[in-house]
Amino acid sequence: MLLELENVSKRYWLHHRRQLMAQYAWKRVKRVTEPFWALRGVSFQVRQGESMAVIGANGAGKSTLLSIIAGVTQATSGNTRRHGRIGALLELGTGFHPDLTGRENIHLNASLLGLSRTEVIAKFDSIVDFSGMENFLDEPVRTYSSGMVARLGFSVAIHADPEMLLLDEVFAVGDEAFQKKCIERVSSFPKEGKSLLFVTHGMVHALALCPRALWLEKGVLRADGPSESVIGEYQAASKPAAQVAGVQQR
């Protein structure tokens, strides 16, 4: 088993930040602050080489789930067990400093993603090659377009060589050629015994890349199973809701 989540819940407090200390204490006493459960009792397991998509409406807890798995935030209750190197690309271009060059950012970013100096030196050419950014390597990243940042960020994340890669809706930025390249790269993950955990609203990508899907709704795991059926359920469930809200579905 690569990853095990057991009854994981995450609570945030609403309306309690940036107040005077006294105000805060008073509200806690009066229980004015209300809890918001971003996740409630989520349990699932991921085996080596298994890829899955995480789908659900905005605010369903998908990104919170990924943050907990990545270890940047902590669950309020429940257990999270990781049994391998987990790489997270929760947002494209995080850890990139605009004033540093592409070359410098590769080193910084790769180290933050868990690569050692010798690994970065060994993989440097391959990182640059995959990103297709050789001509801009010594330019500051602030001069890059968002697509170019995406290319570099994705390339570094892929080369961090995680046993499980967490992606949070990051394919949307690159051009079609690069998207295709990324998808090709991650679709060979199962053969290499690696896993992909992938938050997306693009059902085509979800179906193409992941045999398994998780559907989160208001922090609760609604369905966990083969992608076709979970996505089908999700789409069936979201249609009437959208019509009630007066939104035309295409």
Binding site: I68, G84, E91, T94, L100, H107, V120, P140
Partner: protein
């Protein structure tokens, strides 16, 4: 319960973070790192003017005397102020990239340390010409190390609390202003009445100035003061690391 495999190359991350700060700070500047020498030299000039022309002091080489106060004070206040802001300023990293959070304030302190070491090098050069080298100089690396220990301790404390109460950075700013007067920069330890002197020795910034002057100006051993400095510094680091470690897991929820 959360278990994160620690596969990170901490030294490499630290080095990259320190290099980042340097490059970002000095890129597009023609004088680069020399700017870090300009500020203490201006302070030295002003204080020397005031205390040799306006309130004439009897001290020989007042400029050297005052520089031994300014440099440790500057290092401490710069490192503490930037250290305090470091976690909040790196919110995007904290929220999105899992790595040892301690490395952020530590990298900021090390960045300031590099500047300090360059300044100290010039100070030693000046001291060597004016008062000569003596055997007590071997204490200097220990003094610098204890300064780093202390400033890391207070930075752990203030940077983690700053996540919850952003007022902390203003408290730190005010404390640094007050310190300018409460650290013997332009006056000497012997000017302090004995009934307050023991408090000064327990203030690590003041103790460092005292010890540095004993070593460099008078060529005498740092004495008991360095042990008091060590005790307070280590205790501060222990407290800071404890608090930081206790609340670091919630940083991303409050940033």
């Amino acid at each position: 319960m959360t278990v994160i495999p620690t596969t990170h190359d901490h030294y490499y991350i630290l080095r990259n973070l320190v290099e980042k700060d340097f490059k970002v700070r000095y890129r597009n500047m023609s004088l680069g790192i020399f700017w870090s020498l300009v500020n203490p030299l201006i302070m030295m000039g002003v204080l020397t003017f005031v205390f040799t022309v306006i309130f004439p002091s009897q001290r020989p080489n007042f400029w050297l005397f005052v520089l031994m106060g300014i440099l440790p004070y500057n290092f401490f206040t710069m490192a503490w102020a930037t250290g305090t802001n470091s976690i909040v300023d790196n919110a995007s990293l904290i929220k999105k990239v899992p790595f040892q959070r301690e490395l952020i304030p530590v990298s900021v302190v090390i960045g300031n340390l590099v500047h300090y070491l360059i300044q100290l090098g010039l100070l030693l050069l000046a001291a060597a010409f004016v008062t000569g080298v003596n055997l007590q100089w071997i204490w200097l690396p220990v003094v610098v190390l204890l300064q780093v220990v202390f400033v890391c301790g207070v930075s752990f404390l203030s940077s983690s609390l700053d996540v919850y109460y952003r007022d902390v950075r203003y408290v730190v700013e005010s404390a640094n202003l007050v310190l300018f007067w409460l650290v013997p920069i332009f006056y000497g330890f012997e000017d302090i009445s004995p009934s307050y002197a023991w408090i000064y020795e327990l203030n690590p910034v003041a103790a460092v100035v005292l010890v540095t002057r004993r070593i460099l100006l008078h060529g005498v051993s740092p004495g008991l003061t360095i042990w008091k400095l060590a005790a307070v510094s280590v205790m501060t680091l222990a407290l800071g690391a404890f608090v930081f470690n206790r609340i670091k897991k919630d940083f991303s929820d409050y940033l």
